[in-house]
Amino acid sequence: MNLGIFIEQVPDGDGAWWEMLASGLGWTLGTAFFAWIMAFTLGSIVGVARTTDKPSLVRAGNAYVELFRNIPLIVQFFVWYFVVPGLVPAVKAWVVSLDPTEHQFVTSIVCLGLFTSARIAEQVRAGIQSLSHGQRDAGYAIGLTRPQTYRHVLLPMAYRIIIPPLTSEVMNLIKNTAVAYSIGLVELFFRTREMAEMTFRYFEAFAAATLIYMVIAMSANRVMALIERRVAVPGYIAGGK
C-alpha cells in the first residue's frame, strides 16, 4: 500500500493522480445529473401514458419500456455512439462537428437518460396504479381536467410513494455511468483504470474508486431519505390506504 501515489504527478498530464480521480468524479456526477433530469422527465411522461385509458398510448409506453429494458447497457452505448451516427447522416454531420469529449458526454447523457427513463416509467406507472381509482374519480368529480388531476392529485402522491425505488434508480444511474468508459468518457472508472495501468498501483487505484463509490451511494441514500422526510404526508402510512 502506497498512498503517496495519489500525490504523484501524472506523467504526461498536469496535476497529481488524486486530481485525475477528482476530475473523473466530476464527469461521473455531471453525466449522472443531466441523465437524471432527462430520465425523470421522460420516465414520468411514459409512466403517465401507461396509466391512461387510451390503449394506443399504453401500448406505446409498454413498447418503450421493453425496448430499453431488454438490451444490455453497453450495447445501447454502442448503438448511440456508433450505429445511430452511422445510419443517420444528419446525426453524423452534427457529431463530426463536436470534439470527442463533447460527443462522448452527449452520447452518455442520451444513452443513460433513455435507459434510466424506462426504469423510472415503470416505477411511475406502479406508483399511480397503487393509488385507489377513487382518487382519480374524486379529481374529476370536482371538475379537474385530466391533466389537472394528474398534476395535482395523482402524481404528487405517486412520487411520494416511489421515493424508495427512485433512490435505487439514482444509485443505479451513478453506477451505470461507469459503462460510459466503453466509449471513452473520462469518468471516474476510466481514470481509475488509467491510473492502475500507468502506475501498476492496481490496489490503490481500485481501493480509492471503491471508497468514492461507497461515499456516493451513502450520500445519495441520505439525500433521498432527507427528501422523503421533507415530503412525508402526516397521518399517511405508505402502502396503507
Binding site: G134, I142, H152, P156
Partner: protein, 242 residues
C-alpha cells in the same frame, strides 16, 4: 334537474345497467338502494360521467352528459360528489382540499376560495381541523370534510355513493346528521345508501335496483308501506332486521 332515460351499460358482454330511467327534481331527495352488485353505484356515477354508458341519455340541468361535445369538467364542477372511501387528497391540508377545485376549476381567488371553504368546514363542524391533513382525521371527520369540499363548489345537486358504508358504526351518525341537514335545506340529492332511517326521515322517493335494473321507483311512503316487488320486500326485510 337530473333526467336519466333508458340508460344501459355493459362491461364487455356483461350488462351492468339495463334500461334505467328515473329523474331527480330540483330540491328532491332520492335514495337508491339494492343488494351489492345491483348497479346502484354505477348508475350514480353515470350522472357525472365518471362511468360512461353505451345507450340512453342523461341530462343534468338541461345539459347532456353523454354528448361528446359537453365540457365534462365544467358539468362535474356543478355536481358535488361524496365517495364511499372519502377520497380526500392525502397530500393536501384540509384547507387545500377545500380550495383546489374552487381555484383550478371555478377560477376563484385563493382568498375567496379559502373563505368559502372555511364557511363550509364550519358548517360540518370541523373548523378547528383546517390545518390538519386527511390522514390525521377519523373516518367520520374525513367524510364530513369531503361533503364540505363538494359544497364549497356551490353545486346545484349532490351525489352520495354509499357515504357511510366504510365508516365504523359510531361515526355513521355524524355524517348522516350533516346529510339530513342538507336535505332539509332543500339541496337536490341522489344518495346510494343502505341507511333506511335516513331514507324514512328525508327522502322523497326511493329507488330499488337489482341486477342492473330499476325494479321499484316509488314515493317514500309507498316504498316502505307496500313494496310491489318481491325482491324489494326481501331486501327490506333483510336490511331492517338489524
Amino acid at each position: 334537474m337530473i333526467e336519466i332515460k333508458n340508460v344501459s351499460k355493459w362491461y364487455g358482454s356483461f350488462q351492468v345497467l339495463n334500461h334505467c330511467s328515473t329523474h331527480v327534481r330540483k330540491g328532491e331527495v332520492v335514495v337508491v338502494c339494492g343488494p351489492s352488485g345491483s348497479g346502484k353505484s354505477t348508475l350514480i356515477k353515470t350522472v357525472n360521467a365518471l362511468e360512461p354508458f353505451q345507450k340512453g341519455e342523461i341530462t343534468v340541468d338541461g345539459i347532456s352528459v353523454g354528448d361528446s361535445k359537453t365540457d365534462l369538467p365544467k358539468l362535474r364542477a356543478k355536481i358535488g360528489m361524496v365517495f364511499q372511501n372519502f377520497e380526500l387528497f392525502p397530500h393536501m391540508k384540509i384547507t387545500e382540499n377545500l380550495t383546489i377545485g374552487q381555484i383550478k376549476v371555478l377560477g376563484r381567488s385563493p382568498d375567496e376560495a379559502r373563505e368559502r371553504g372555511l364557511k363550509m368546514l364550519d358548517r360540518v363542524g370541523l373548523i378547528d381541523q383546517m390545518d390538519k391533513y386527511p390522514g390525521q382525521l377519523s373516518g367520520g371527520q374525513q367524510q364530513r370534510v369531503a361533503i364540505a369540499r363538494a359544497l364549497s363548489m356551490d353545486p346545484i345537486a349532490m351525489l352520495f355513493d354509499e357515504p357511510t358504508s366504510a365508516l365504523d358504526p359510531e361515526m355513521i351518525n355524524e355524517v348522516l346528521d350533516v346529510m339530513v341537514e342538507l336535505a332539509q335545506e332543500g339541496m337536490t340529492m341522489m344518495c346510494v345508501t343502505h341507511e333506511m332511517g335516513f331514507a324514512r326521515k328525508v327522502a322523497h322517493r326511493v329507488i330499488f335496483m337489482d341486477q342492473g335494473s330499476i325494479v321499484e321507483d316509488a314515493t317514500k311512503d309507498d316504498f316502505f308501506g307496500k313494496p310491489r316487488s318481491e325482491r324489494a320486500q326481501q331486501f327490506l326485510s333483510k336490511i331492517l332486521h338489524h
